[in-house]
């Protein structure tokens, strides 16, 4: 195609280039800011709706084990992980575990030998949920857990029984694993295999995990589920994730405290 020859080429002076660049930057910056600010309320509402939807996922996980629960029945706490104490001075509505982990004020580096989940850092606090029965006894403990999978970070809710040892449900709510392979961690059948598993043995030793598929009967069967065949790395990720979060740098202090408070 031919160019329109009548067009005069712009005069190429430095001043003109600078002026135009500044002008374009200013107008574009103004436009982007205006759009971002004016849309923020809607985006916030979306994020809030997603949080509610996530709580709904917890409730679904509970209803899968025959426990119908309303959102109001969930008791939410911010836990200081190191001490296991509830610290409700942290604003839960603005808490974002990933963002908190990245900051030096609200997060901490995980010692490499303890970093089974491959996270490198974790937040000082975690947002957990409790369900109490009519007498006020803790019946269910709902813990957010996350860990490195094959190609993404896995995020799940781990639901423990009030005895702090028995797994009631493991529900993945966000991951980016290979569709049809690693993504099978979400399959109801695999999620169901976690139900009723014992996380700790009677001596209090952490035994939960994922064992290689088809490893047959062993005494670990009460504590471990079979890996998903073809998704070895994802399965190992789930294994590391649970061992980390139930371990000493995870929720151990919280679980210890709950055990002491309700024998």
């Amino acid at each position: 195609m031919s160019m329109a020859m009548s067009e005069t080429l712009p005069r190429d002076t430095t001043l003109r280039a600078l002026t135009l660049a500044l002008l374009v930057a200013f107008v574009c910056g103004l436009l982007v800011s205006a759009v971002a600010v004016s849309l923020r309320p809607i985006q916030r509402a979306n994020v809030e709706a997603e949080r509610i939807a996530q709580l709904q996922l917890v409730l679904n996980a509970l209803s899968a084990i025959g426990r119908e629960q309303s959102i109001d029945g969930l008791e939410q706490h911010m836990v200081e992980l190191a001490s296991g104490r509830f610290d409700d001075s942290v604003d839960a509505t603005r808490f974002n575990a990933e963002r908190a982990a990245a900051s030096s004020a609200t997060g901490t580096a995980i010692p490499p030998d303890l970093d089974l989940a491959g996270l490198k850092r974790r937040a000082l606090h975690a947002q957990v949920y409790l369900v109490r029965d009519a007498t006020g006894r803790i019946e269910l403990i709902i813990l957010p857990v996350s860990g490195r999978g094959y190609q993404s970070t896995l995020h799940a809710w781990l639901v423990l029984d009030g005895d702090t040892r028995t797994v009631r449900a493991l529900k993945f709510y966000r991951h980016g694993e290979t569709p049809g392979v690693g993504s099978r961690i979400e399959e109801p059948a695999w999620e169901a295999s976690w139900r009723g598993l014992r996380a700790f043995d009677d001596a209090g030793v952490l035994r939960i995990g994922v064992r290689p598929a088809g490893s047959g009967y062993s005494e670990d069967a009460a504590y471990q589920v079979d890996a998903i065949s073809g998704a070895t790395r994802t399965s190992q990720g789930v294994d590391g994730m649970l061992r980390f979060w139930l371990g000493e740098f995870g929720y151990a202090a919280l679980l210890q405290r709950i055990r002491e408070e309700q024998p």
Binding site: M1, V24, C28, V35, V181
Partner: protein, 219 residues
Amino acid sequence: MQDSNWRILTRPLIDDNPLTLQILGICSALAVTTSLDTALLMSLVVVCVLALGSAMVSLMRHQIPHSVRIIVQITVIATLVIVVDQLLQAYAFELSKRLSVFVGLIITNCIVLGRAQGFAMHNGVVASALDGIGNGLGYALILILVGAIREFFGKGSLLNMQILIPTSQGGGFEPLQLMLLPPSAFFIIGGIIWLIRRKRPQQVEKPEFSLPVKGRETR
């Protein structure tokens, strides 16, 4: 020779398709085509960004100094992409999460900058907008085709409506898991390029050099 507006709009569909002839924008075509809905949304976004970006660059073409033209074009494109991304996060939150970074990466999509620099800098606003829409639709055409093939064979569904019942749910369809992995998009795009060049041999590139033939008997 100035092309008619109709030619400007339709030529990038097959004759001068940015994906299959110019082999541009392959990265996003691999990433967002695992299902038809993401492919459709990505297509829509790219058409909008291309049309508006080309039109705006064309509007400014007499003012943009030669020395900073690429930076100015990128700034305009980046602004549009960020605005669209913000809109998606507000009004299509679920889908925007699945498109994740690939909306933002439209900024670096060679098609957008290519049309701004190669066409909009030398042509009028209407022609540039049509050229943007045409190229966007050319990209969309391939994206939608690949997305439909991958979702159908990979999950047995189209637009999340189950058409074939997979064996895991008692049906007779074994999902082709390869279809959900990025390499399958290479194969499908390669197949589409082959088909188009079968029908339009003028698109076949001349070999850049030929290997010397050794050991052949000569009479």
